[in-house]
């Protein structure tokens, strides 16, 4: 099952990308392109079950893989994490 959030973001963006050549793209484009309403329950059904993760990531604080050299340069982003 595809997560509704995947549809609302990743797939909707493919539609929005088609508007890139039109500078006047308006805020409702994503909803129109996906045929969805702008209201939250219609856009992302809050009662929709989440699909079971098939490739679980590690628990917080654990690393699955040692970071590659490029990773080591990345600072922990402190400011844009919550909302």
């Amino acid at each position: 099952m595809v997560d509704p959030l995947y549809r609302a973001l990743v797939l909707a963006a493919l539609g929005l990308a088609g508007c890139e050549s039109t500078p006047a793209t308006d805020a409702g484009a994503a909803e129109r392109d996906t045929g969805e309403e702008s209201d939250v329950p219609a856009d992302v059904p809050v009662d929709a079950p989440l699909g079971a993760p098939d490739t679980p990531i590690s628990d917080a604080g654990e690393e699955e893989d040692a970071p590659c050299p490029a990773d080591a340069e990345l600072p922990t982003p402190p400011c844009y994490l919550i909302l």
Binding site: L5, L16, A17, L74
Partner: protein, 236 residues
């Protein structure tokens, strides 16, 4: 501010704990707003316009409105005046990439495809459990607008497919970038000092982490894979 029976049903300790969390979120909302303003300027300098730039600019304004909403809730729950944080020392995050194009991609990926997407998944999980009508309305507004904030990056990737070397570089740092966000979401400081209050929008740490992991595995990784960005795929 209008009285709220849901708030009044809480103990003074619970109200203060919730108020402090909302107060902390005022600052994070303002920071994200400033970051979106900075991102908008950098997108414009890079010649990126259209839907991507429009969404980024709107996101900056909406995050400031989110901060106002969080401030109202902090005062409502705490029954006190809450000061707005001083943001004058805020500086945009630099990821240390020598190529401006790659620096912009890393910032955009982190702030929108990862952070804002996780925020959307987390808000959805919260809304499922919220019973307070006022808080539910606040979270619903956040989620509706958060979706467009996340779409900044997803639309950018769809409209401006990254070159092979950019994809390799993004792939090489993706797992670390995601893990940094997951770790931050799991930080004990983000949770109430007492028991969780899901009816008021504050999940337990365990439920929050579950929501974050589900979003990473079901949305972020598959979405980025669609654009050729895969964790650990630093060679092609």
């Amino acid at each position: 501010m209008k009285r709220d029976p849901w708030v009044e049903a809480l103990s003074p300790e619970q109200r203060e704990a919730v108020s402090l969390r909302w107060e902390a979120r005022v600052q994070s909302e303002l920071e994200v707003g400033m970051s979106f303003t900075n991102l908008s300027e950098r997108l414009e300098q890079a010649g990126i316009g259209g839907a991507v730039l429009k969404l980024a600019r709107e996101s900056a304004q909406q995050e400031r409105r989110h901060a106002e909403l969080c401030h109202e809730l902090a005062e409502l729950y705490g029954e006190r005046n809450v000061s707005l944080p001083d943001m004058s020392a805020w500086e945009p995050i630099r990821f240390g990439r020598s190529r401006p194009e790659l620096e912009l991609h890393v910032a955009l990926l982190g702030q929108t495809c990862i952070s804002e997407t996780i925020a959307s998944g987390w808000l959805r999980a919260c809304i499922r459990r919220i019973e307070s009508p006022r808080v539910r309305a606040a979270y619903a507004l956040h989620l509706r607008e958060e979706l467009n904030h996340a779409r900044v990056g997803w639309t950018f990737l769809a409209a401006h497919p990254p070159s092979a070397d950019i994809r390799r570089a993004l792939s090489a740092s993706l797992r670390t970038q995601v893990q940094a966000n997951v770790n931050a979401w799991a930080n004990e400081a983000n949770f109430l000092s007492g028991d969780a209050l899901p009816a008021h929008g504050f999940l337990s740490r365990e439920d929050s982490i579950d929501a974050v992991h589900a979003t990473v595995n079901d949305v972020i990784y598959p979405g980025l894979e669609l654009h050729g960005i895969t964790p650990g795929a630093n060679e092609s």
